[in-house]
């Protein structure tokens, strides 16, 4: 891998968003992932989402672990601080960063090896704590960088490129996130940008632990017949429960929908998630229902996608800890040091 800068030539007629940024301003270095890698599509979706919702790139901190997925943050949001941490430990570093400055947007990018194998513990505990973040797992069921070993999300019975059958049960990260208390849980497919982009927009607006599991086929090692994380397999078995439209603020519904087919979620920041329900029986406000639905359809070999659960009034780690409204990293001696007189009193109490 070498470092490649993109030429900074902008077409004069490029569309700008409300902040005057073009889509190019949200890009990063040229990807060094394999041509056709699902991860690049997810990077593109992140870029599109950040552009769409007029984010200032420098107000985002992007953190990752180790692996192909964790390399991806180099390829988007070049104007953001990034942190490629150690394998499986992005969640703790992100948690610390979030505690230091609650005003930034935290984007955690990880993979199935990084989050479901070596980092399962940290993934779980960051969800439990309700860290305000967008946690995206680029899930291909395989270790790409080390050339094709199964990861912990590989389905039982799926076949590796070398013909080995996986005999271990898979970790379903969406099921875990639901059980552990994440307040925004979605699954999508890297090949379905129309579904993925608004899911990311909604997750960024969400003021709590938002988790998106994105099935992202590995063209080099896991896109063959017998794989359950290939483009073909996911397209055939994708069972979308809804499609969402994301609006910064409440806007009048202008399109005609069949009665009961739209579920509207107003998030704490005023943004609106309009869920076009593809399954009338699916309610994205029902955590337990979502867990059951997921298991039932998984048993049928279906990959359930969409916004599976959202709590419109989530709390987060800062509210649990009752931390100051201003970022802790802006506090200095006057706010932090009790001073010499207080120390004299402490000394007096220790005699």
């Amino acid at each position: 891998m070498t470092y490649l800068t993109k030429p900074k030539l902008h077409h004069p007629s490029l569309v700008t968003n409300k902040l005057g940024y073009t889509r190019r301003d949200y890009e990063g270095a040229i990807s060094t992932l394999c041509a056709g890698c699902g991860h690049d599509s997810i990077s593109a979706a992140i870029i599109q989402a950040c552009f769409n919702i007029d984010l200032q790139p420098h107000r985002v901190a992007k953190l990752s672990g180790i692996g192909c997925s964790s390399k991806a943050p180099t390829y988007f949001l070049g104007g953001s601080h990034g942190f490629n941490t150690v394998h499986g430990r992005m969640p703790s570093v992100l948690t610390g960063a979030n505690l230091a400055n609650r005003d930034l947007i935290y984007l955690g990018v990880s993979g199935d090896g990084d989050s479901a194998s070596i980092g399962l513990g940290q993934f779980a505990h960051s969800m439990r704590r309700g860290v305000n973040m967008v946690y995206i797992v680029m899930n291909n069921g395989v270790y790409g960088l080390t050339k094709g070993q199964f990861s912990a999300t590989a389905d039982k019975g799926s076949k590796s490129k070398r013909g080995v059958i996986n005999t271990d049960s898979p970790v379903d990260m969406v099921a875990l996130a639901l059980q552990l208390g994440a307040t925004y849980v979605a699954r999508s497919f890297s090949g379905d940008k129309a579904q993925l982009v608004p899911l990311i927009e909604g997750a960024i607006a969400h003021q709590g632990a938002a988790f998106i599991d994105v099935i992202s086929p590995c063209v080099a090692f896991n896109n063959h017949p017998g794989s359950t994380k290939s483009y073909d397999y996911v397209r055939e078995h994708n069972e979308a429960v809804n499609r969402i439209d994301f609006f910064h603020h409440r806007e009048e519904i202008t399109t005609d929908y069949a009665p009961g087919s739209v579920q509207e979620v107003v998030q704490h920041d005023g943004s609106v998630l309009r869920l076009r329900k593809l399954h009338d029986d699916y309610d994205a406000h029902d955590r337990i229902g979502a867990m059951n639905y997921l298991q039932e359809h998984h048993a049928k070999g279906e990959v359930v996608t969409g916004l599976l659960f959202v709590d419109p009034e989530p709390d987060d780690l800062h509210s649990h800890l009752n931390t100051a409204e201003v970022p802790l990293n802006t506090l200095n001696r006057p706010a932090l040091c009790p001073g010499a007189a207080a120390l004299d009193k402490i000394n007096a109490s220790l005699r």
Partner: protein, 613 residues
């Protein structure tokens, strides 16, 4: 039999059962002596257990102010039948045994070279109290009362302590006073107080000194030093540090107007997450720390390498215990020196600070937070169980009014706007320390990618050999810079010029101070230097060069600090002699004097005359 006779210079040891409420009664005893102006150094010797196993509380009473463990026991307060035999055996010949004589014990259970003082404690408490818990708790106070009579202690000192401890709870004061005097009265009426040769006499040797645990002092240092994020995982003997930080923050760090906390504390799921959180917060510009012990350091090692290589401030307080592995969780050692100094795969070196007592735990904790920001690297405060979990007499804590935090080299939005060149790993000042930016500083400039992989001066990924070497060399230069920023060593010269020197550090200090006085008295001349930090300052190497033989006193098996001195100073190994104490008990002056005397005897051997041919 020659009875031990001593005023203000003896060791009392309490043998108790864990969880019986004895700890607070024993501490009351120690504090009462302090109030009489006589220095004491108590030590808890406790098992890794909550209830039922044997525990001891050893109080050294020493008017001269020697606070190291002395060794031996002059008066055993034997309250635990489980350990009776060993406890009785431990008493110095001519010493004293105080015990509960409710149940008659055969003569074979005693020794005839000690004075035995029996008091029917259980019977007395059972007659006075009906409630089971009261019986247990007040029995402890009753024996403190009896001891105060036997040792000629001032009851007012204890009474005063009750008054302070139970302020506003008059009922508790009264009931404790009653128990105390029940013990005193019984002793005066029924025990022969005159046969007790150990006495406490009022003195004036405590002065302004304070009595505090190292962990509590280190926690205060973190509050004063401006730590806002603390992440930790419970592990003996460090847990009380994070808990003390929580307590002090609740008092001093809650905004009076908003009621919001100017701190965040996470009890993480393990030490990996603890250090990850600390590093994340440090990366993002908040002062952060963790407190742990040896096994925790083992788990944190990968992350420590990341913080070294990516250059992120982190403060790690290691309250050392006996290793390796789970080792001796409730015993003390200085055995993590190497594992901290060179933690991580690859070539790394880390800054270590060695506090000698709670006062320096406070100072060095605050200092570590400054150094971490200044040097953009992990800083270790290497305390241990002996300092951390025992209440120790030390100088009062000091904070210079108006002292500002050193936040190190942080490039601001204004500087970036003005077009100042920003290279995250660019050495602009020649000290090896680059500038950093906090995330979110400037809309267009100053963003970079932090990584554990190799990179160039502008934080761009590169595996080019020369680029890698350039960065590694700069890190060495930064470590050189650290030499003059860390606490300098302190020297104590012998009365006469000597070819012998001794190096020591950390909790060995009180025992070494006493040993040096012994050497002075015996006319043995040894220059001493207390090392307070790694990297080693040049003056340490000069000290070694100026002596023929240098002892390095450590509380570990493998002479870890000596190994570092040899490597870092490129020294002749024969010249540097290890003096090692590592059985888990705190080192004593007796041990140091004896070990060094033995070695010196070897050097002072007069060579045999050559036999005439």
């Amino acid at each position: 039999m020659k009875k031990i006779s001593a005023i203000n210079d003896f060791v009392v040891k309490f043998a108790n059962v864990n969880g019986s409420g004895s700890a607070s009664a024993n501490e009351l005893f120690a504090r009462a002596i302090l109030r009489m102006g006589v220095p004491v150094s108590p030590r808890n010797i406790f098992p890794s257990n909550i209830q039922g196993l044997p525990t001891w509380y050893e109080v050294r009473v020493n008017e001269a102010g020697y606070l190291g463990r002395r060794g031996g026991c002059d008066l055993m307060v034997a309250m635990n039948p489980q350990t009776w035999d060993a406890d009785v055996k431990e008493i110095e010949p001519g010493g004293y045994l105080f015990y509960d004589s409710t149940r008659v014990l055969p003569k074979s259970k005693f020794r005839d070279d000690i004075t035995v003082i029996g008091m029917p404690l259980t019977q007395i408490t059972n007659e006075a109290y009906t409630d089971v818990r009261q019986r247990q708790l007040f029995k402890n106070i009753i024996y403190v009362g009896a001891l105060s009579a036997l040792l000629d202690m001032d009851p007012k000192a204890v009474e005063q302590l009750f008054g302070e401890q139970y302020k506003g709870k008059e009922k508790l004061i009264d009931s404790n006073l009653k128990a105390l005097h029940m013990g005193r009265d019984y002793a005066f009426a029924n025990l022969n107080c005159g046969e007790m040769g150990l006495k406490v006499k009022p003195a004036n040797n405590v002065g302004k000194k304070i009595f505090i645990e190292g962990n509590n002092a280190a926690a205060l240092g973190c509050v004063y030093g401006g730590a806002t994020v603390c992440a930790w995982y419970p592990i003996t003997p460090s847990s009380s540090l994070a808990e003390a930080f929580q307590k002090h923050c609740s008092k001093y760090r809650v905004d009076a107007v908003t009621g919001k906390n100017n701190f965040a504390i996470i009890q993480a799921e393990d030490e990996l997450a603890s250090i990850g959180i600390v590093i994340g917060a440090g990366w993002n510009g908040a002062r952060s720390f963790t407190a742990t012990s040896g096994p925790g350091i083992s788990l944190m090692t990968e992350f420590i390498g990341l913080a070294y290589f990516a250059e992120i401030p982190a403060t790690i307080i290691n309250v050392q215990r006996g290793g390796p592995s789970t080792g001796m969780p409730t015993r003390t050692q200085q055995a993590d020196i190497l594992s901290c100094a060179y933690a991580s795969n690859g070539d790394t070196k880390h800054v270590l600070l060695f506090p000698e007592d709670p006062k320096e735990c406070f100072d060095f904790a605050a200092e570590a937070l400054d150094l971490a920001d200044r040097l953009q690297t992990p800083i270790f405060v290497m305390t241990d169980l002996d300092i951390g979990m025992n209440t120790r007499l030390c100088e009062p804590l000091e904070w210079k009014e108006g002292r500002e935090y050193d936040r190190g080299k942080v490039m601001t939005a204004e500087e970036l706007e003005a077009g100042k060149d920003f290279g995250r790993y660019l050495d602009v000042d020649g000290d090896g320390i680059p500038y950093r930016t906090y995330p979110g500083t400037h809309a267009k400039r100053g963003a970079y990618f932090t990584r554990g992989t190799t990179k160039d001066r502008y934080a761009r990924y590169s595996e080019e050999g020369p680029v890698y070497v350039d960065n590694m060399e700069r890190l060495v230069k930064k470590f050189e810079t650290a030499k003059n920023l860390v606490p300098l060593p302190l020297t104590r010269k012998a009365q006469r010029a000597s070819k012998f020197g001794v190096l020591y550090f950390g909790s060995t200090s009180p025992a070494m101070n006493e040993a040096l006085d012994v050497f002075d008295e015996e006319g043995i001349h040894v220059d001493a230097m207390r090392i307070r930090a790694f990297p080693f300052h040049q003056s340490i190497m000069d000290f070694i060069a100026a002596h023929d033989h240098v002892f390095v006193v450590e509380q570990n098996r493998d002479a870890q600090l000596r190994s570092m001195l040899l490597t870092e100073g490129n020294l002749n190994a024969a010249k540097v002699i290890p003096v090692l104490h590592y059985d888990g008990t705190p080192i004593t002056a007796r041990f140091i004097v004896s070990a060094i005397n033995d070695q010196m005897a070897l050097f002072n051997v007069t060579p045999l005359k050559k036999v005439a041919q």
